[in-house]
Amino acid sequence: MSEQPFIARGFAGRRAAAQSGRIPPGQYETRDFPVLSAGPTPRTPLASWDFSVEGPEGLLARWSWDEFQSLPRETPTVDIHCVTKWSRLDTIWEGVSLDTLLAAAQPRGTMTWGYMLAVCDGGYTTNLRFDDVVGGKAWVVFGHDGAPLAPEHGGPARLLVPHLYFWKSAKWVRRLQLLQDDEPGFWERLGYHNRGDPWREQRYQGDP
């Protein structure tokens, strides 16, 4: 934010939603569910879908679709914020906490994990700080609003990390690669912020 914002002549704006305290700066509330993706929507059959957690030494855990469905489920209700400026309040999801997945993968020994890279069908990736995804803050979700997650919204399963801008909630996620050193993902290499906290308005590289 610049030191002295320029006042737009004759602009009044709306502020009802912003005053709720739940809309981060520069965002507006929408009731729709816009879709943003860089390419066509991939469609992976559930029979060949799997989900894995890997470390530098290789595979730590892997689940088929059926195995994944049998993991303990949670139904978080959260607000989501897209860097393209829309926010949706009280969205309802169903899926598995990353705490559950990482505990099953048992990243063990003396390894200290600082980061992870989420890898998706279609080639999309995004990087996350480890402490941004543990402690009840992140899920792999396969349900939205009581129905299976639609392909254009990331189905069969996507990441959900609602306290960061929504590009971090990678669609069509298939693998979590545990890392010691940070490795920028798809949008992070193309000028977007490395962490993406909407309350600090970390939209693009160089934002505070």
């Binding site: 610049s2 320029f6 602009f11 879709v35 390419g39 400026k85 050193d181 940070d182 490795e183 693009y204």
Partner: protein
């Protein structure tokens, strides 16, 4: 826990700049082009966008993203904004803003939905409604970077709108087509003029098979428009055999 971050210089921040509206131009009954003079504009690539910020007297602010319509070679930033009647920002940009006014922008933003002549062709562009805007920047760049008419990579555009009156840049597109810069197809989905010879239905598989470069030509494909339009077109393109990684999409949500 400590974090070891990869050593890299801190990237420069995209600063907010106060642009001056040099010119406004009505493109259609619902779309207006704002030609902006931006101090120290770092330049952009065709297909990129900017953020616009409006700050009210009491500090309340609203931001939106708009695609850049002008070619990098033009040395200015033109935005074409579609007025959404129940929107918060677009009615201000279309109805209130006038030449001489300031407007805060920052950018350019986005490094994936971009094309330049170095990427080459053939080039297929598929636009729906105001989704034509970043595609127009690519066409304008193709002309200005190439110099000689029709010297750039072979380019086809399929442009869908509801009504003839809502086809943005239709005269300029007609001139480009006459010069051989683009093979142009329009389709109108709601209402057609009595003498209309073009297509009169939503973009479908046979239209894409017939009007843009086939997969065998290994084209670069850019699709931009409303969410539902892009979802349908991109899915059909993959079904027709286009390599998903060669189909780049930009979806417009409802950005009021």
């Amino acid at each position: 826990m400590t974090y070891r971050s990869v050593a890299a210089p801190a990237p420069a921040r995209l600063e907010w700049r106060v642009a001056t509206v040099a010119q406004v131009r009505d493109e259609t009954p619902r779309a207006r082009t704002l030609v902006l003079d931006v101090p120290r504009w770092p330049g952009h690539r065709a297909g990129q966008h900017v953020d616009v910020r409006l700050v009210a007297e009491d500090g309340y602010q609203a931001q939106r993203s708009y695609s850049i319509a002008s070619a990098p070679e033009e040395g200015l930033v033109a935005l074409t904004v579609e007025r959404l009647d129940d929107g918060e920002v677009s009615p201000y940009l279309c109805d209130v803003l006038r030449p001489g006014d300031g407007l805060e922008i920052r950018g350019p933003i986005g490094g994936y939905f971009v094309w330049d002549v170095a990427i080459g062709g053939p080039l297929s562009l598929v636009g729906g409604g105001s989704g034509i805007v970043p595609l127009m920047a690519m066409l304008r760049h193709r002309v200005l970077a190439g110099g000689v008419a029709a010297a750039g990579p072979p380019t086809r555009l399929l442009y869908s709108a509801k009504h003839w009156e809502e086809l943005i840049y239709r005269e300029e597109l007609g001139r480009l087509a006459a010069r051989g810069d683009v093979e142009l197809s329009f389709t109108l989905t709601r209402e057609t003029p009595v003498d209309w010879l073009g297509y009169r239905r939503r973009v479908d598989e046979s239209m894409l098979a017939e009007l843009i470069w086939p997969p065998a030509a290994m084209p670069h494909v850019f699709v931009c428009g409303p969410t539902a339009f892009v979802e349908v077109v991109a899915t059909l393109l993959v079904r027709l055999g286009h390599e998903p990684t060669r189909v780049r999409t930009e979806r417009f949500g409802p950005t009021g």
